[in-house]
């Protein structure tokens, strides 16, 4: 077979090509498109009444309900309670997990002692502790904070330990041959080297923390976003349930954005790829 050399080379017109990047505008357009399709499908389903309106309210009704909930009533208080629970338990988990994870990733002796214990706990689903936490800690804030703490702390320890182990040995050896002692290596090399990844691990585990929050509030609470949703279920207020889901999603996103911003601010030196 011979090719016609006078034939101009035509770019392949494929839209979907393996590992071929799309332009930024296409990427944004596609990202918006999926949401437009989602809401259109929802809206159409409602308009043609192919769903029970009591169970699936139209999207604009959900937004309207959300607005009403936010300007009056208990909902703002519920949101604050939920945010407080997540932040308080997460702060506690970080205070324990970050130093312990760094020590375990630095000293194999510390790892050998704690790791069999920590890894075992990771395989126990945190919600399994709800009955016993309720018995031990009553019905106040205690069991909720404890559940969130248990759900996050063991994973966070393991992630921080793994990231600490990944600190390149050459950095440590360089420091040693410059005359640093063990303490100096830990504080001036290992800690600053692992810190950016610690913030990444915290960001990931904060999302998990939100998951456990909703479980805790649905099972055993009269306050918080999850409890509000359970109340709404009793009165068949599906619009309020969906508004609750929306708020949880938005809060999760907000914290994620906050952590990304924090990472950029604290570790700006990683972002200036120059030459």
């Amino acid at each position: 077979m011979s090719a016609d050399l006078n034939e101009p080379i035509r770019n392949s017109a494929r839209r979907v090509t393996i590992r071929k990047p799309v332009s930024r505008s296409t990427s944004i357009l596609l990202g918006i498109a999926i949401w437009v399709i989602f809401f259109t499908a929802w809206e159409l389903a409602v308009i043609y009444e192919s769903v029970n309106l009591l169970l699936v309210p139209p999207p604009e009704k959900v937004l309207g309900t959300l607005y009403e909930l936010l300007i009056g009533g208990r909902f703002p208080g519920d949101i604050l309670v939920s945010v407080f629970r997540v932040l308080a338990s997460f702060a506690g988990a970080c205070l324990l997990a970050v130093p312990l994870g760094i020590l375990m990733g630095t000293f194999p002796a510390v790892e050998s002692f704690f790791n069999p214990f920590v890894s075992a706990w990771r395989y126990l689903p945190a919600p399994a502790f709800i009955p016993i936490l309720l018995m031990w800690l009553g019905t106040g804030e205690g069991p909720k904070l404890a559940l969130l703490f248990i759900g996050v702390v063991f994973f966070l320890i393991t992630m921080v330990m793994d990231y600490t182990r990944q600190v390149r040995i050459e950095l440590i050896e360089t420091s040693l041959t410059l005359g640093a002692n063990q303490r100096q290596v830990l504080w001036t090399v290992i800690v600053p080297a692992v810190l950016p990844n610690v913030v990444v691990a915290m960001r990931q585990m904060l999302a998990v923390s939100w998951t456990y929050l909703v479980i805790a509030e649905i099972v055993a609470s009269t306050t918080g976003i999850g409890a509000m949703m359970m109340r709404a279920r009793r009165f068949l207020h599906t619009d309020e349930i969906m508004a609750g889901i929306l708020v949880i999603g938005l809060l999760g996103l907000l914290f994620d954005v906050l952590f990304r911003w924090l990472h950029r601010v604290l570790f700006g030196y990683l972002y200036n790829q120059g030459r």
Binding site: E170, E173, T177, T188, N272
Partner: protein, 273 residues
């Protein structure tokens, strides 16, 4: 006109490696005799190159001098003091970049001095001198992520030398650089040594680099790693050559290169073919 300078080499012995051996024990209990009966010494201000085929254990020898690995047998002395572990008198530069990302160039260079309690003012002055020596003054306040590979290695050199080590250890320091940057760095090394009082032990597998930089080459054979040949780079007649192409055309260069290549070839496992 070749730019040359007289070697300020003295006859004082700086580093002694005496009958050093290293046996690795594998997980299944099998013992590997990695280094066997290695002895050599390095004089003050000498540039000593450890050369040999890959896997001959030259890097392990260097790491033992650094104190990062412990020999199974033998002793090592720096300035008549027994080497027991890593310390500031044996600064090491690695092939992989070791700049501390979270510190500016200046703070990187100050790092060792800070660990060793040098006062802030003195530290800053010393750092400025050594940053100037590696020609990075313009980048004093830059972070490593803004630097090229060659510049990162220059930071490492300044940081190690500013710490005043008794001997500078380099493990294939230019191995990750592209060819042009590599010979620029090699020439920079020659000019740095001209103005500092520095003894160097460097590992490389690059014959050209060994001949250009080394005052002396210690050639290792493999399995087990042991010294096959140890001698001065004769064609340079005790001089250091500042420009690489000048070294390449010197009388005796080609013969020296041929000789080392023949040594390398003799070490190739016959099962290869």
């Amino acid at each position: 006109m070749p730019s040359t300078n007289t070697l300020r080499q003295t006859d004082i012995t700086k580093l002694i490696v005496e009958r050093v051996g290293k046996v690795f024990t594998l997980a299944d209990g099998q013992e590997i005799n990695a280094i066997s009966d290695v002895s050599f010494s390095v004089k003050r201000n000498e540039y000593c190159v450890l050369l040999g085929p890959s896997g001959c254990g030259k890097s392990t020898v260097l790491r033992m001098i650094a104190g990062l690995e412990t020999p199974t047998s033998g002793t090592m002395l720096l300035d008549d003091e027994l080497i027991l572990g890593p310390d500031r008198d044996r600064g090491m530069i690695f092939q992989n970049y070791t700049s501390f990302d979270w510190l500016t160039v200046e703070k990187n260079v100050e790092y060792g001095m800070k660990c060793n309690g040098v006062p802030a003012k003195e530290r800053k002055e010393m750092a400025a001198d050594f940053i100037d020596l590696v020609r990075l003054t313009k980048f004093k306040n830059a972070y490593p992520s803004q630097l090229s590979g060659g510049m990162k290695q220059r930071v490492a050199i300044a940081r190690t030398l500013a710490n005043k080590p008794g001997v500078l250890l380099m493990d294939e320091p230019f191995g990750a650089l592209d060819a042009e940057t590599r010979w620029n760095m090699q020439e920079l090394m020659i000019s740095i040594l001209e103005s500092t009082d520095t003894t160097v032990v460097m590992v490389t597998h690059d014959i050209e680099e060994a001949l250009f930089l080394g005052d002396r080459i210690v050639f290792f054979s493999s399995h087990p790693g042991t010294i096959l040949e140890d001698g001065p780079v004769a064609f340079k007649k005790g001089q250091r050559i500042g420009v690489k192409e000048d070294a390449l055309v010197m009388k005796g260069y080609v013969e020296a290169e041929r000789h080392i290549m023949a040594l390398m070839r003799s070490q190739r496992p016959t099962t290869d073919e």
